[in-house]
Amino acid sequence: MLVQFYNVSKIYPNGAKALDDISIQIDRGEFVFLMGPSGAGKSTLVKMLFREELPTRGQIFLASRSVVRMKRSDVPKLRRNMGIVFQDFKLLERKTVAENVSFAMEVVGASSKDIRTRVPEVINMVGLKGKENSFPGELSGGEQQRVGIARALSNRPLLLIADEPTGNLDLNTSQEIMELLFDINRKGTTVIMASHARELVRAARKRVIMLQNGRVVDDSPNGESLL
């Protein structure tokens, strides 16, 4: 198992209950959607994966290592095993496409030789060949998200976490991004994607975990609950 949640609850200091006794297991190589209305707890669950938030109760394991008991100094190592794709892309506006990707490798201390070969590789993989020297402001929303995905892939993650990656994109572009994510998953990377784009998720025929009011209300292997 790659990801294990055991009886995880999260209550924020203001008293809001974001997650209520969640238990989930995700295997290597899976593609999993986290669905549910706003405020259902998707974002909190995603943030716990890379330990931006800690659970109030319960245990979380990533590749059999406890995320909860982990020392603060081990958190960077945990995060290097995952790539994160954001709804708002979070690209650095003053860096080019290639620099945005190489930045992610530099800050984890990758060798310059590795950076030189890997950056064109992932840019190619997301279909942005020829745009290496463009700035994010010169790209369409879909292209910007491709840069975000290239950046997430640069450090060869075990797990790709995408938090509403199509939230700011139109339907056609969203479908292209989904194809790209499926492709990455086929090549072996586990993908967890939070979304509330019902049509998109239904068309995918992948595992869907439904959240509502901080609880898992449904977990279906091929998204049957959405049919």
Binding site: E52, K77, R79, R94, V108, R151
Partner: protein, 294 residues
């Protein structure tokens, strides 16, 4: 740490300096102003302290001897005084010398003091300097108790007041400098926070990608040290010019002797430079930590 990372740190620091010219300038100016005020504060304190040392070391005990002592009794008393622990130097002034001195002080040759008074009314005196001016009253009491000494004078009352004043002046000086330092830290931290705030998105991203805190910190530290050292250098330049011209104008003009010993001044400037760089580090540390809690 890999050499590639070190190059990265310097490159990032350099880029950030180029990008945030206005904030870099603000940081340099802030540090320069803080160090300038601090420098003047320290110079003032050093000089005040120096002046107080002078005042204190001027304190001496006059031991007046009885009139009918023989020469050997007089030198005996001198030896006994010198034997008291804490006594620095001891100088004998005979009554004739004392009269001559008095005559000189009056400054008019045609006015013959001895003739006017009929005979020399002045006693033989020992002028005793003490090693530690604070022991002056105890030593004076000891000397007074010696046979052959009929009176001691060390400015009783005034001396105690002087010590009280100088003690308070020193405490106030230290408090003043500490307050300036604390103020400087917060002022600089606030300025640096602005520079870091402009890059909070980048820091957040680095944290989520898996950068270690130190990897994120180094470029900021380099930047902070560089900018604040530059600010400190500017203020030291201004300080050196101002103080140098003050020394050349004031020297030998007043009874106040400014501290002008080259070694002391150089050390002061080095300390100020170090303080400037240190303020940059502390300021960066305070400002940055908040953004690293992701």
């Amino acid at each position: 740490m890999r050499p590639g990372s070190i190059i990265y740190f310097f490159r990032e620091a350099g880029k950030s300096l180029k990008r945030n010219r206005l904030l870099s300038f603000a940081t340099i100016t802030t540090v320069a102003v803080c160090i300038l005020i601090l420098g003047f504060g320290v110079l003032f304190t050093i000089n005040a302290s120096n002046f107080m040392n002078h005042l204190e070391s001027d304190v001496q005990i006059r031991a007046f001897l009885e009139q009918d002592l023989t020469a050997s009794q007089i030198s005996d008393i001198g030896r006994k005084i010198e034997a008291i622990p804490g006594v620095g130097s001891n100088k004998f002034i005979s009554r004739d010398e004392a009269l001559q001195q008095m005559q000189k002080d009056f400054g008019r040759r045609e006015y013959d003091l001895k003739e006017t008074l009929g005979k020399n009314p002045l006693p033989h005196t020992y002028m005793v300097k003490v090693k530690n001016p604070r022991e002056v009253s105890q030593l004076a009491a000891k000397i007074k108790s010696m046979p052959g000494v009929y009176k001691v004078n060390y400015g009783q009352g005034t001396v105690e007041k002087l010590f009280k004043v100088t003690r308070w002046m020193r405490i106030i000086g230290i408090i003043f400098i500490v307050l300036l330092l604390v103020g400087a830290v917060f002022l600089i931290a606030t300025t640096i926070r602005l520079a870091i705030f402009a890059r909070r998105k980048e820091i957040y991203l680095m944290k989520l990608i898996g950068s270690t805190d130190w990897f994120i910190r180094w470029p900021f530290f380099l930047e902070g040290i560089l900018l604040s050292s530059l600010g400190a250098l500017i203020s030291i330049g201004i300080l050196a010019m101002a103080y140098g011209s003050l020394i050349s104008k004031i020297d030998n003009l007043f009874f106040i002797q400014l501290v002008s010993d080259a070694g002391t001044i150089r050390n002061l400037y080095l300390v100020l430079l170090g303080t400037g760089a240190g303020l940059g580090v502390v300021g960066t540390w305070i400002s940055l930590n908040r953004f690293l809690k992701v």
